[in-house]
Subunit: 342 residues, 2 copies
C-alpha cells in the first residue's frame, strides 16, 4: 500500500482521483495499491484521513461548491506545508501550479521538506527541478528516498523513465524539442492569418492555453521544461534565467506567414548543447524545413530529439495529450517507486 | 563480469567488438564489465577462450582473411549449437541472420537451448520471437533467466526497455509503424521517378538493402518485426504467416508518384489492432496525408506509434540508424541484465 499526500486538486489531481476511483476499468492497474490519505490546496481547503480520503465525495464537493468545507468528510484546517511536515504518508504528490515569478516556490520547499523527512516525492510541478534539481537529487540520495517527475515534461511520453532505463551507458550530447503546446498552437494559427489575440483566444477555448498566456508566449514555460531536461539528462546546472528566450509577439504573424509561403514552418525550438563542461540552452523561433521531424507537429503536440554518443539520435513525440496523460505520469512514477532501486 | 558467447560475427558483432575494444572512449560504459568467451559463426570458424577472446585479433583476422583459422588465437572446431550446449558462459548473444524460410531456425533452437541451460539470452535475430515468443518467454521464466531483444525492432530506439518500464499499468491497444528501412528508401526513390531496379540498387549502395531484397520488398521483414512487437507488447500469439502483406512491385512506382502528385506519401504501414481477444496485423501500402507523423520519414528511418488505454498515443522515431545503434541495443540489454529483476 502506497499512502499518498496530494498537494493541489486542480485538473490533474482530479483526473488522478477519477482514474483511482475507476481503477477496476483498467486491467493494467490491478496491482496498483494506493490510498490518498491527504489532499491540500492553496485556497480550496484540505482533507485528511488515515483510512483514505473519500475521493468520490471530494470530487463531487469541488464540482458543486468549488472547495472543500467543514461538512466535507475528512475536512481539516491544514495548509500544505504543515501537512507535508506532520501527516503520516509514503509519497508526496506535488500537483500545485508552477510559479516562475517565485522561482518554483512554494513547490520547491514542499519537495525539499518531504525529502528531508525521507518521503518519496512525485512532482508534476517543474519548478523544483528547474531551480534546484541538483540539491534535491542529492537530498533524496542522502535520505534514501526517491524524487520522480515524469509529469513535468511531455507527460504523455515516459521521457524520464526511458532515459533512466533505456539510455544506460550513453552520454546525452544534445536535446532539441518543441515543448510548449500553447506556443505551437498559436504559431499554427498565426500561419493561417489569425491575429495574436484571436490565436490565443482559440488556444484558450481549446483548453490548451491558460488564462494568462504570458508564461507561454514569452518562452518561460518552454525554458523551464528545457532546464528540467538539461539538468536531468545532461547533468547541467541551469536555471531558467540562463536560457535565452525569444518571445511570440504581435509581429510574429508576419514571420510565420512568410515562412509558410516558402514551405517552411515557424516553431519555437528548444535547444540544449554541450559547450565544453557547460550546457548552453535556448528557446528560439526557427523556420523548419518540411522534412524536419518537428515541422508538422500539430496543435498541442510536442516532440523531443535526444542525441547521444553511442546510440545516435532518436525522436519522441506526443500527439494529443489530455488530463489523463498527466495523471498517468503520476501512476507511472508510483509503479517505478514500487520497483527495486537500481 | 558478464561472460558472453556471440553467435555470429557479421556487421553487428564486429561493431559490438569495436565498442568493447574502445570502451574507455565512452564515459557511460565505465561500469560495463564483460568478456567475450566465445564467438561462433556458420562458415567463418569459431573462437573460444575462458580468459576472453582477443577481439582485436579476431577483427583483424576477419578483415584480412574473411574467417578465423587454425592460427587465430583461440581457434576451435566448434559449431554454434555445440558451443551453446557445452561452453561456460553467462549470456548468449544471438547475432545470426534471420531466416524466414526456416521460420527462425537455427536461431530459435540456439535461444531455446541456452534458456534450457538457464543462461540469459540477448537476441538481435527476430526469428525466435516471431515464431515462438510465448514458448521462449515461458521457458525463461521457468528457468529463472531472461530473454532480452532490444536489437530486434528499431534498434536505435529502446522500444522494449521503454515499454517494459515506462508503460506499466497500460494495456497497449494498437501499434502502427513504418518498420522496414529498405522499403522506405525504395518508396522514396520510386516517388522521384526511379525504376524499382534502380531504387533497389541505390538502397544497396547506401548499405540499407541486402544483396537479396526480396524479404524486404515482399513485406516479410516488416511482418516479422510487427509480429515481434505484437507478441511482446500486445500478448498476441501471432506468427509472421498470419500477417497480411502487400508487396512493393514494379507497378508500385506509378502509385507512389500519383500519391506525391496529390501531396500524399506512399508508405509501407504496419498495423496491429485488437479484435476481441485476437490481434489482427497487416503490412500494407498506404497513402499518408502530410500531417501524418510517418509521412516525412526519410531514407532508412523508421517510426512507431503506440496506442494505450490510459496514456493515449505517442510516437517513437529513429532517423539514421547505423551499425553502432544495433550494437548498442546489445549493450543496453547487458545493462538491463545487470539490474535487479522487477
Amino acid at each position: 500500500m502506497q499512502r499518498l499526500l496530494l498537494i493541489g486538486f486542480g485538473n490533474v489531481g482530479r483526473a488522478l482521483a477519477r482514474i483511482l476511483l475507476e481503477q477496476h476499468r483498467y486491467p493494467g492497474l490491478a496491482s496498483l495499491n494506493v490510498a490518498v490519505v491527504g489532499v491540500t490546496t492553496a485556497t480550496r481547503g484540505a482533507l485528511a484521513s488515515v483510512a483514505g480520503v473519500d475521493l468520490a465525495t471530494a470530487l463531487a464537493e469541488i464540482e458543486l461548491n468549488g472547495r472543500f468545507g467543514p461538512t466535507t468528510p475528512g475536512f481539516v484546517e491544514l495548509d500544505s506545508m504543515r501537512a507535508i511536515e506532520t501527516l503520516d504518508y509514503d509519497v508526496l504528490v506535488e500537483l500545485s501550479t508552477l510559479s516562475v515569478a517565485n522561482r518554483g516556490e512554494p513547490a520547491l520547499s514542499h519537495v525539499r521538506n518531504a525529502l528531508t523527512r525521507g518521503k518519496d516525492v512525485i512532482t508534476c510541478n517543474k519548478g523544483p527541478l528547474a531551480w534546484s534539481y541538483r540539491e534535491l537529487a542529492d537530498l533524496a540520495a542522502a535520505r534514501g528516498c526517491r524524487l520522480l517527475h515524469e509529469g513535468t515534461v511531455m507527460d504523455g511520453v515516459p521521457v524520464f523513465n526511458l532515459t533512466r532505463h533505456g539510455l544506460r551507458g550513453n552520454v546525452v550530447t544534445g536535446i532539441e524539442g518543441v515543448l510548449n503546446s500553447t506556443t505551437n498552437a498559436v504559431l499554427s494559427a498565426l500561419e493561417r492569418g489569425e491575429t495574436l489575440a484571436d490565436a490565443v483566444r482559440r488556444a484558450q477555448d481549446a483548453g490548451i492555453a491558460e488564462a494568462d498566456p504570458a508564461n507561454d508566449l514569452l518562452g518561460w514555460d518552454a525554458a523551464v521544461k528545457l532546464t528540467v531536461l538539461a539538468n536531468v539528462l545532461m547533468d547541467a546546472e541551469l536555471t531558467p534565467e540562463a536560457v535565452a528566450r525569444e518571445a511570440v509577439t504581435a509581429a510574429t504573424g508576419v514571420r510565420a506567414r512568410a515562412a509558410l509561403a516558402e514551405g517552411l514552418r515557424l516553431k519555437a525550438l528548444c535547444t540544449a548543447e554541450r559547450e565544453g563542461s557547460l550546457v548552453r540552452a535556448s528557446v528560439a523561433l526557427r523556420e523548419l524545413a518540411p522534412d524536419h521531424p518537428f515541422a508538422h507537429l500539430q496543435g498541442a503536440g510536442s516532440a523531443l530529439r535526444i542525441s547521444t554518443d553511442i546510440l545516435g539520435t532518436f525522436v519522441l513525440a506526443e500527439e494529443a495529450p489530455d488530463l489523463n496523460t498527466t495523471a498517468y505520469a503520476v501512476i507511472s512514477d508510483l509503479f517505478a517507486l514500487a520497483e527495486p532501486l537500481s
